[in-house]
Amino acid sequence: VGGSGEEEFERFFRGQARSLMRQAYLLTGDAGEAQDLVQETMIRAWREWPRLQGYDDPGAWARHVLHRLAIGRWRRLTVRRRHDRADLRVVPAVDGEHLDVLSALAGLTMDQRRAVVLHDIAGLSVAEVALDMGVPEGTVRSWLSRARARIAQALEIVELPSDGGVAPEPGL
């Protein structure tokens, strides 16, 4: 990778690191794991940079790799959890609500979680999420709807009947 390529990669790195980190964290629920996943994604991006430079959106490639890595980790964990203590997690910051968010996400299926992360954190539209995940838009809508309902229930978020506004219940 040449000098200008390095500069471009640095810009790409700075531009993507936070978004990828946020996605990885909500996918895994573990800050340490998330950091590892982003690091691994960026290492792969660096190796492939001469090719990626020509892409319209190298960020999409990085996001795809990150999610694949997270899914692989999730599958491994599903097996490992039978033996390990699942309640010990590394979190970057803790308050009741933050942990409730993580717990609610942990209760979703991996597809639901990915859909939520892509839509709410990566900022993709439903159509883009569907394209990214290779499923029909209706399926994405269904996943998002169920996921949101479960998260809202876990966080005790209720919709006010009057103006459709949302007010958190006491006890969050």
Binding site: R22, Y25, Q39, W46, V126, V166
Partner: protein
């Protein structure tokens, strides 16, 4: 269901909560270093491969030599103390303190707070023990039903006060930097969240969401590292000894010793710091405690004193004042003997270590050591406290060092020859046809 599911207020609120939770890892993203990625370039890795092998071989040899030197030293002279080969299990994680933050110690626990916060110790608020309070503005603190309450503090750290059960709270167990933290969340919003580190007997509570990131900074304190059991730390050869009324200790060679009266109408006191007199003068103007000793001595008794005011260093108080200062070391945390001296540590919980040094039951002096960084320097100073005229721990004569080096080198060469013989044997075995092959032929 609307097009992008952002139409409903509920969906927006869920989205907002998710984004807020995700944003908490932004500092971790900023920690990711691009330079580390560049090192993993395949071309560079290929170039580096032989160097890595060479470096690994040299490191292995040095580690082997170090172990052999240790073994040789122990067998040659039982009085020589060698640093243990394996690191102590308790290590202060310096990386746990983000840039621009500063660490706050309470007993064996350390956490860090933003650099612009004011952190105070107070024994007036809760007389049975000191409490550390972090706040954005100065405000009085008081005790109420076993909990520290105040109108401004955003975080309070303490011992027994925070270990009482919290009825109705939901409990979660987390592992932060290798330390188990139990977080107790209140049943209603607006109440205090409590976190307890049961293994260290320390707890902290907070109300402000600004504090939530603080929990990620939990690690061992330098005090915990200093008090870890193990062989006495070897005094580095670059250090120099300083004599204090029958007691000797070693400090880094760059540190300078001063003697003066820190507080008006007090006896002159020796103090040894890695800072110049000008800085000390400035600190003197800020010193309001009015208690004899050096900067920081008596800090815990002064009510509301900025926690991080004291610089690194050693303050030694000799004579009768020493006895009054260490009166409270009646129930010391731990004591150790160094020949005829007994060194006892005050059970106080701050980032300074108050010690009494006594001989035949008579207090010779009080020594205050400011704990900083990973506690390694502090441990080496602490272990070097000894009767005047006796050698520092692990001091090795230059001549003896040379002999140990040569014997280690000879042992290393012997092991290399042995490894080569084994490799030749393995190659010969690999070339020899096995019985099955011969039968097939």
């Amino acid at each position: 269901v609307t097009d992008d599911l952002h139409g409903s207020g509920l969906n927006e609120e869920v989205s907002r909560r998710l984004q807020a939770a995700a944003a908490l890892v932004d500092p971790l993203a900023d920690e990711l270093g691009i330079s580390a990625l560049r090192e993993t370039s395949p071309a560079r890795r290929r170039l580096r491969a032989p160097r890595v092998a060479l470096v690994a071989a040299v490191c292995l040899s040095l580690a082997l030599a170090g172990t052999l030197v240790g073994l040789a030293g122990r067998s040659a002279s039982p009085s020589k103390r060698i640093r243990p080969a394996s690191p102590p299990p308790i290590r202060v994680d310096l990386a746990a303190t983000p840039k621009g933050w500063f660490p706050v110690d309470y007993g064996d626990l350390q956490l860090s707070v933003p650099g612009d916060w004011l952190v105070v110790t107070s024994t007036r608020a809760c007389p049975s023990e000191s409490v550390i309070t972090a706040m954005e503005h100065v405000a009085p603190v008081k005790c109420h039903r076993g909990f520290l309450v105040s109108n401004v503090p955003v975080l309070a750290v303490g011992g027994a006060h925070f270990l009482t059960s919290t009825r109705g709270y939901s409990e979660r167990r987390l592992m932060v930097n290798g330390i188990e933290v139990v977080v107790e969340s209140p049943p209603r919003s607006g109440e205090t969240t409590v976190a307890v580190v049961p293994s260290l007997g320390v707890g902290f509570e907070w109300r402000s969401p600004k504090v939530t990131i603080v929990i990620r900074t939990v690690t061992w304190s330098p005090r915990a590292a200093l008090l870890t059991r193990g062989a006495p730390a070897r005094t580095p050869t670059s250090w120099r000894s300083t004599l204090l009324d029958g007691v000797e200790l070693s400090v880094p060679g760059s540190w300078t010793r001063h003697t003066g009266s820190w507080v008006p109408n007090c006896d002159p006191t020796p103090f040894i710091f890695p800072v110049g007199p000008r800085i000390l003068e400035e600190l003197r103007e800020d010193e309001k405690s009015g208690i004899c000793g050096g900067p920081g001595v008596g800090e815990a008794n002064s009510g509301l004193v900025p926690f991080a005011a004291g610089p690194s260093g050693v303050v030694a108080v000799e004579g009768p004042t020493a006895a009054t200062l260490v009166d409270k070391v009646d129930t010391p945390l731990t004591c150790r003997r160094s020949r005829s001296l007994q060194v006892c540590i005050d059970p106080g919980s701050g980032s300074t270590l108050l010690m009494s040094v006594s001989q035949d039951g008579v207090v010779l002096m009080a020594i205050e050591l400011t704990l900083r960084a990973n506690g390694v320097v502090d441990r080496e100073i602490y272990d070097s406290i000894r009767p005047a005229g006796t050698p520092a721990p692990g001091a090795v004569e230059p001549k003896e060092q040379g002999q140990l080096y040569l014997s280690a080198l000879a042992e290393m060469q012997r092991l290399v020859r042995q490894a080569r013989r084994a490799e030749r044997g393995a190659r010969a075995l690999a070339r020899r046809p096995v019985a099955g092959d011969r039968l097939r032929r």
